[in-house]
Amino acid sequence: MENIIISLKNAIVDFDGEQILKNINLDIIDKQFVTLLGPSGCGKTTTLRIIGGFQQMKSGSLYFNNKDITKLPPHKRQVNTVFQKYALFPHLNIYDNIAFGLKIKRLSDKEIKSRVQQTLELVNLIGFEKRSVQSLSGGQQQRVAIARALVNRPKVLLLDEPLGALDLKLRKGMQIELKNIQQELEITFIYVTHDQEEALTMSDTVVVMNDGIIQQIGTPIDIYNEPKNAFVADFIGDSNIIDGIMRKDFLVDFAGNSFTCVDSGFEKDELVDVVIRPEDIKIVPQAQGKLTGVVESVIFKGVHYEMMVESSGYEWKIQSTLHENVGSLIGMNIEPMDIHIMHKMEDKL
């Protein structure tokens, strides 16, 4: 059985009478890389702050290894944080910033020195020891923030968009680094991002949040292939979301046509969201297509082309390695297994 290291139960947080977290339940499995993913303002930082001990809940409780730590002050928690705004100590140089936690723990100077050195190496900042915080670029400061938390080898590391200020290349490199560090040191990572690609490539478990509610918890593959609702489908990769009617098991109507699908268990004639990934729509000659449409725009995206196609009152996004000319009439086919049927979300956003 996997060991649950952190468990958040029925967490509710209010700011100025507005509910920001609406009954969050979250179990974090020990030694896993868990990502909180969601749009800006959905409550990711707030959730992390509860675990770090900086945010009081209106109601709810927090357990660490089955011990209730709801009321435990931050400095007594075996958790370290990489803050979204870095929060480096402006009066200390880079070495002393990173050594700060170890000095508080009264480790020997020798031990502190070797650990700081090792961590500086990890984040690629050798030679920056004597520099002041103010003299560093945003990305360098961010790496100091990572080092300052990581050097303590906490049981759980909370990272709030730790790579947000880095350029794409450095970010990719750091993603791999962080993942390696996490696996090598066997630290539980709770990682906040709003970059879905980052979440999918790094995580063991992804927690998709929106509007203070957890939408779905699962492995990256589950989340991508079996999104629970249209929000998750849309947020994880691009999606076409079309209104449909479930006629009976394995048969759905949308865009003026009936399609066989692989979903069942819906009510007869239930209004549903039909989700189709842009790469799952096959372009065929007009006569062979179940749907037909007019190409409205084509954008080159590097690996593929992205086309917007107008068909039966919807804008369809299609990704393909080949492209059609703007204005041309095309046919479109969709395999049954690529048609994902979802219940309409109870509260429309």
């Binding site: 400095h75 944080t81 803050f83 929060a87 009066h91 700060f100 936690g101 508080i104 723990k105 938390a149």
Partner: protein, 267 residues
């Protein structure tokens, strides 16, 4: 070129209000009544060394107490919600709008033998205590009058300390005590040294407060200087010499303090 023109009013101001008065003080300090050069005024300071040392002692004590009181007060104000910070600062500054003679009279009526405090204690059959006409009352008067000069510079640096930096320290294992010694104090260094100077300088040249609350036996160098100009022992030459010596001592103490200041506040 433009900057030169802009600096003219400032230069005129400096000449009228700083250079000329300072020149006059120096001139008076080194001349006799008939205008001849002399050191006798400076030498005469010897008779007042005890008063001078008392002034320094009292103002050092007052400055230290202002710092000890000012640090927590300023920190608490700086952590309040933005709107409330203004109100609290207002309360700190408000007494300064009242003439300082009146403020000191108010303390007299509080501290007197049959003043408010002793009468209140009398209700419980305690006292009366001797609260006025001693050195403690003079130091209290200094603290009361000058503590805003400590709180304001402290507040202005502390309000710039980002709450997230305090949280980061907590996150890394700092309890309350370590947050104060490792984060708040080092980051307030600039305010601490400004506050010490702005309290110490007026304290060491305090007058009247010492006479009103000290009962005549705790006169400070400021009182002696004042009496050389306005009192019955009229002698502006001696008064100028005293003022000059006091100024030199203050400058020496301050530059000494600044030498240490850079390392001292780290703790």
């Amino acid at each position: 070129m433009k900057s030169k023109i802009l600096s003219i009013p400032y230069i005129i101001w400096m000449i009228i209000f700083t250079v000329i008065p300072l020149g006059l003080v120096i001139f008076f300090a080194f001349t006799t009544q008939s205008g001849e050069f002399t050191f006798s005024n400076i030498v005469a300071m010897n008779d007042y060394l005890d008063v001078l040392f008392r002034s320094i002692e009292f103002s050092v004590i007052a400055t230290i107490i202002c710092l000890i009181l000012g640090l927590p007060v300023s920190y608490l104000i700086s952590r309040l919600a933005r709107g409330k910070q203004g109100t609290m600062l207002m309360i700190v500054i408000l007494p300064m709008w009242i003439n300082f003679l009146l403020r000191t009279y108010a303390w007299m009526t509080l501290l007197e033998e049959n003043g408010l405090i002793n009468r209140f204690l009398g209700l419980f059959n305690v006292g009366p205590f001797n609260l006025i006409n001693n050195s403690g009352a003079v130091i209290l008067g200094m603290i009361y009058n000058y503590i805003p000069f400590m709180i304001l510079p402290l507040y202005s640096v502390m309000t710039k300390i980002d709450e997230s930096v305090v949280e980061a320290a907590q996150d890394l294992g700092c309890s309350g005590f370590h947050i104060i010694t490792r984060i708040i104090l080092p980051l307030s260094k600039q305010g601490i040294s400004t506050g010490i100077i702005t309290v110490f300088v007026p304290s060491v040249s305090t007058f009247i407060i010492s006479r009103m609350l000290g009962g005549g036996t705790n006169d400070l160098i400021g009182d002696i200087i004042e009496s050389q100009f306005l009192g019955n022992s009229y002698n502006p030459h001696l008064g100028s010499a005293m003022a000059l010596v006091l100024m030199v001592i203050v400058i020496l103490i301050m530059s000494l303090f600044n030498q240490f200041g850079s390392e001292e506040a780290v703790i």
